[in-house]
C-alpha cells in the first residue's frame, strides 16, 4: 500500500504539477470528455472568455461555439476520439458577455495508460491580433490593387475614398498640392452617401467660414508630420492658434476624432488624407493611425502616377488639339491656295518646290501639282521664256531665282512660249522671300498671275498705233517728196517763203507721228537702239544748230568739257537733247538765253539744259516724265504739243542706263539734267 500510496502520491504530485502549469499558462487550455462536456478550464480561459471554472465545467463545448461552426468542431472531435490530432482549426468562441473572439484551436486525444481514448484536450490561441493584421494586410493589398488598377486620376481618387469610407472612417477628404503654385487644393470629400447632411455642413463651413479641412492639411504640410486627435483635445492655452481653431470647428461639427496623414510619393508630400470619425464608438486608435499612414504611403504613388498620366494625357490632348487646329487652318489655306486662279509655288532656300497649286501646275503643262513637284525640270524643257523686249530669259532671270540669289522681292512679266506648239502666254511673276529671325532665307513664295489678255490687248493697241503711224506716214512721204520737188522748181523768194511755211508744218506733223510711233515702241519694248561710241559734243553742236535755226528770240549757249566720248545711240541722244531744247524754247516765251553744259561726271557724261522760262511747279516735276503729261491747267494758256517729248527722252536715257531729272521753281526757269554712260556697261 505504501508503495502504492507512494506511487499514488507520486502520481498525485505529477498531476498537481501539471495542473499548476496549465493553470498558470497564458495559453487557453480546456478539456472535454467524449460527450463534449468541458472537464477542465484554465485561468487563461477564464480571463479571456469571462467564464469561471464553476460557470463552464460540465457545460458542453457547444455553449462556446457559433452555430455555424458547431458541426465542424463535432467532426474534428470525432477524428480526435479516433486517435488523430487536429491542428489549427479556427472557431469563434463566445465570451460570457456574448462577444465573439476568433480562436485558433489544436485538439488532441486524451488517452489512459492502456491506450484507450477518454477525452480531448484543446489549446486555443486568441486570433484577434493575427486576423486584424491579416485583414489590415489584405486591406492594404486591396488599396494598392484598386489604386493602381487605373491611371485615371478621378477614378483613383474615388477608389481611395471608397476604400476608406465607410469601412475605415465616416468621412474623408483628400487634398493635393499643386506643384507649380505650392498651394493646397481640396480634391475630394467623400462621406459614402450624397445625402449626408453632415458633409453638407462640413462643406458649408468650409466655404463660409474657415477652410478648416484645409487647415488640417496645411498643418500637416507645415509640420511634415501626420497627426491624430482621438479624442479631440479640449481647449488648451498652449495650442497654436490655428490648431485651436481647428479643434473648435471640428468639435462644433460633432466630430469625435480626426487623422491627417500625408500622401507620399518619391519622398515628397503630394497631398493629404483627412479621416474623420463622428461616432464615439468608432474613435480612431493607434492601429488606425498607423494603417492610415500606410495607406498614405501606398496611395501617394498611385495618385502621383495618375496625376502625371493625366497631365501627360492633357498635354497630348492639347497637342492634338493644336495639331488639329493647325491642320484645319492649313487645310483651309491649302484649299484657298489650291483653288486660287493665280499660280502659287513655295520653294525652300535650295529651290526645291515644297508646294505648288493646281493653277501653276496646269499652266506649266503638268497633269497635277504632284507631277510638278516630282518633275521640277520638265517645264523648263517645255517652254522658252522671253522678256517684254523679246530677249530670251534664263532660269536665273526669273524672279524666284533672283530672290534665291539675294533679292528680297522681285517681279517681271515673262512670256512663255511652248517649244512644241508655239503657243504662248504672258505671266506676271512676283517672288517674295520668307526669312528666319536670323535673316536666313527660308522660303520663296512665288505668285504667277496670267497677264496674257492684258499683254495681248497691249499688243493690239501697239499694233493699231503702228499701223496708224504707217498709214499716216505714207501720205506724209508724198507730201514731203512733192514739196521738195516744188522747192526745186520755184525760185522766187515770195513763193519760197510760203513753201517754207508748208515745210515747217509738215516737219511738225512728221515729228508728231514719229513720237506717236516711238511711244508705241517704248511701250512694247521695241524701241531699237544702235549702240556705238561717239563724241557727245558733236551731237550737241548738231542739235543746237538745228534748234537755233527755228528760233530767233532765244540764244543757245554751249559750254563744257571737250572730247566727251560716250556709248549710246547717237540718233536717240540727239532726240533727247532736241526734245529738251524744244521744250526750253516752248516754255520760255519771253526769249532769252538757254544754256547747254556738258561735263564728265564719274563714269557718265552729264548734260545740263537750263532755261529762264516759266518754270515747273514741284507737283508737276514729279509727273512731267510720265506719258502724255503736260504741265499746267488745260484752261490756262499753255503751249501746244502732246506732252510726250519728255516721256520719250526719259525712256531713252533710262534705256542707256542713265538718269534724267529736273530742277525748277515756278517762274524761275528750269534745268534738265541727264547722263549718258561713257563706256559700255558690262
Amino acid at each position: 500500500m505504501k508503495h502504492a500510496g507512494r506511487s499514488f502520491n507520486k502520481q498525485e504530485d505529477e498531476n498537481r504539477l501539471l495542473a499548476s502549469i496549465i493553470e498558470s499558462s497564458d495559453i487557453i487550455m480546456y478539456s472535454l470528455d467524449k460527450k463534449g462536456s468541458i472537464q477542465t478550464w484554465n485561468f487563461a480561459a477564464e480571463q479571456l472568455l469571462g467564464f469561471t471554472k464553476s460557470d463552464i465545467i460540465g457545460s458542453n463545448i457547444k455553449k462556446l461555439l457559433r452555430s455555424e461552426e458547431k458541426e465542424d468542431i463535432a467532426k474534428s472531435l470525432k477524428k480526435v476520439f479516433q486517435g488523430e490530432v487536429v491542428r489549427s482549426i479556427e472557431a469563434v468562441h463566445y465570451t460570457k458577455d456574448k462577444k465573439m473572439i476568433p480562436m485558433g484551436l489544436k485538439i488532441s486525444p486524451i488517452r489512459v495508460s492502456e491506450g484507450s481514448i477518454i477525452g480531448a484536450s484543446i489549446t486555443a490561441r486568441d486570433l484577434r491580433r493575427e486576423i486584424n493584421f491579416r485583414e489590415k494586410e489584405q486591406f492594404l493589398l486591396k488599396v494598392s490593387q484598386s489604386l493602381n488598377s487605373s491611371l485615371d486620376y478621378n477614378h483613383t481618387l474615388t477608389s481611395l475614398a471608397k476604400l476608406l469610407v465607410p469601412r475605415f472612417a465616416d468621412w474623408c477628404a483628400i487634398h493635393t498640392i499643386q506643384p507649380e503654385t505650392n498651394t493646397i487644393q481640396l480634391a475630394l470629400t467623400y462621406g459614402g452617401g450624397s445625402k449626408d447632411i453632415w458633409i453638407h455642413k462640413w462643406e458649408e463651413h468650409q466655404i463660409k467660414k474657415a477652410k478648416y479641412v484645409e487647415i488640417g492639411a496645411d498643418m500637416l504640410i507645415k509640420s511634415k508630420r501626420s497627426f491624430m486627435y482621438s479624442p479631440l483635445p479640449g481647449y488648451s492655452k498652449n495650442a497654436h492658434f490655428q490648431e485651436q481653431r481647428y479643434n473648435k470647428l471640428t468639435k462644433k461639427l460633432g466630430i469625435t476624432s480626426v487623422i491627417v496623414v500625408p500622401l507620399l510619393s518619391r519622398g515628397t508630400i503630394i497631398g493629404t488624407i483627412t479621416l474623420v470619425s463622428k461616432y464615439k464608438k468608432k474613435q480612431f486608435e493607434k492601429e488606425d493611425f498607423e494603417l492610415a499612414e500606410e495607406i498614405g504611403r501606398r496611395a501617394g504613388p498611385a495618385l502621383d502616377n495618375a496625376t502625371l498620366f493625366e497631365n501627360a494625357q492633357k498635354e497630348i490632348q492639347e497637342r492634338k488639339r493644336i495639331a488639329n487646329e493647325l491642320q484645319k487652318s492649313r487645310n483651309q489655306l491649302r484649299i484657298i491656295l489650291e483653288n486660287i486662279s493665280d499660280g502659287i509655288t513655295v520653294q525652300d532656300e535650295n529651290g526645291k518646290s515644297i508646294f505648288v497649286n493646281d493653277a501653276i501646275a496646269k499652266t506649266s503643262g503638268y497633269t497635277s501639282s504632284k507631277d510638278m513637284i516630282e518633275n521640277p525640270k520638265d517645264w523648263e524643257l517645255r517652254f522658252t521664256l522671253y522678256d517684254e523686249q523679246g530677249n530670251v530669259l534664263t532660269r536665273e532671270d526669273i524672279p524666284t531665282a533672283r530672290v534665291r540669289n539675294g533679292e528680297r522681292f522681285a517681279q517681271r512679266n515673262v512670256r512663255y512660249v511652248d517649244k512644241k506648239t508655239g503657243e504662248s502666254y504672258w505671266s506676271h511673276i512676283k517672288a517674295q522671300g520668307v526669312y528666319e529671325d536670323s535673316g536666313k532665307l527660308q522660303y520663296i513664295v512665288t505668285v504667277v498671275h496670267d497677264v496674257t489678255e492684258m499683254q495681248e490687248q497691249e499688243a493690239r493697241k501697239d499694233e493699231f498705233i503702228s499701223m496708224a503711224s504707217h498709214e499716216l506716214k505714207t501720205p506724209l512721204t508724198s507730201l514731203v517728196v512733192y514739196l521738195h520737188l516744188l522747192k526745186l522748181k520755184i525760185k522766187d523768194s515770195e513763193n519760197n517763203e510760203l513753201l517754207s511755211k508748208i515745210e515747217r508744218q509738215t516737219d511738225k506733223l512728221n515729228k508728231l507721228v514719229t513720237e506717236l510711233l516711238d511711244i508705241s515702241k517704248i511701250q512694247s519694248g521695241r524701241l531699237d537702239y544702235t549702240m556705238e561710241q561717239f563724241e557727245l559734243n558733236e551731237v550737241v553742236r548738231d542739235v543746237t544748230q538745228v534748234v537755233q535755226g527755228i528760233t530767233s528770240k532765244h540764244k543757245i549757249v554751249v559750254s563744257g568739257d571737250r572730247d566727251l566720248h560716250v556709248y549710246g545711240d547717237k540718233n536717240r541722244i540727239n532726240q533727247v537733247l532736241t526734245n529738251l531744247l524744244i521744250n526750253a524754247i516752248k516754255y520760255s516765251p519771253e526769249g532769252g538765253s538757254i544754256s547747254v553744259d556738258t561735263k564728265k561726271k564719274g563714269t557718265f557724261a552729264q548734260v545740263k539744259v537750263t532755261d529762264h522760262g516759266i518754270g515747273i511747279s514741284i507737283k508737276d516735276q514729279q509727273k512731267i516724265f510720265e506719258k502724255l503729261y503736260q504741265a499746267g491747267n488745260p484752261r490756262e494758256k499753255t503751249f501746244p504739243g502732246l506732252g510726250i517729248g519728255l516721256y520719250i527722252a526719259s525712256n531713252i536715257v533710262k534705256s542707256h542706263g542713265g538718269t534724267i531729272e529736273v530742277k525748277s521753281q515756278k517762274g524761275k526757269g528750269a534745268t534738265f539734267i541727264f547722263t549718258v554712260p561713257l563706256r559700255k556697261h558690262v
Binding site: 503711224s469 507730201l479 521738195h484 510711233l517
Partner: protein, 132 residues
C-alpha cells in the same frame, strides 16, 4: 560718164511718180514698177546700178524680193536700198540683206546721198573681188 540707172519699186503711185521725177532731175536713168511681181526678170534685163525698194508691197514682200535678188549671182551685186514707213522696217531690212535703209518719210537729198553711197561702194567691192 555713163548715166547711172535706178530701178524704183513702190506700190504708192504718187511716191513712185515723185521719185521718178526727182531721180530724172538729178540725172539718173529711171525704171519704175508699181508691183513686185517681175522684179527679178526686170532687174536682169535692166541691170540697174541701184534698186530702191519699198518693204511692204501689196501682194509681194520687199524682204522676200531682196533675199531672192541677193541669192541670184546675176543680181546679187546690185545694191538695194529699202524704204518703208513700217515701224520694224529697219531690222527687217537688215535681216533680209539689203544694203541700206531709209525710213519714210524721208528727205530726198538724204535719199540721194544713200543711193549714191551704195553705188560708190559697189564697184569698189567688185574690184576687190577681181583682185582676189
Amino acid at each position: 560718164m555713163k548715166k547711172k540707172s535706178i530701178f524704183i519699186i513702190d506700190d504708192d503711185r504718187d511716191i513712185l511718180e515723185a521719185l521718178d521725177i526727182y531721180f530724172h532731175e538729178v540725172g539718173f536713168t529711171v525704171f519704175s514698177s508699181e508691183d513686185g511681181d517681175r522684179v527679178m526678170n526686170e532687174t536682169k534685163k535692166i541691170k540697174p546700178d541701184v534698186i530702191l525698194l519699198d518693204l511692204l508691197l501689196s501682194g509681194n514682200d520687199g524682204a522676200d524680193i531682196t533675199k531672192e535678188l541677193k541669192s541670184d549671182k546675176e543680181t546679187k551685186n546690185v545694191p538695194i536700198v529699202i524704204i518703208s514707213a513700217h515701224p520694224n522696217a529697219k531690222q527687217r531690212a537688215k535681216a533680209c540683206g539689203a544694203d541700206d535703209f531709209l525710213a519714210k518719210p524721208f528727205d530726198l537729198d538724204e535719199l540721194l546721198k544713200k543711193v549714191e553711197g551704195c553705188i560708190k561702194d559697189t564697184p569698189a567691192k567688185e574690184e576687190l573681188g577681181l583682185l582676189s
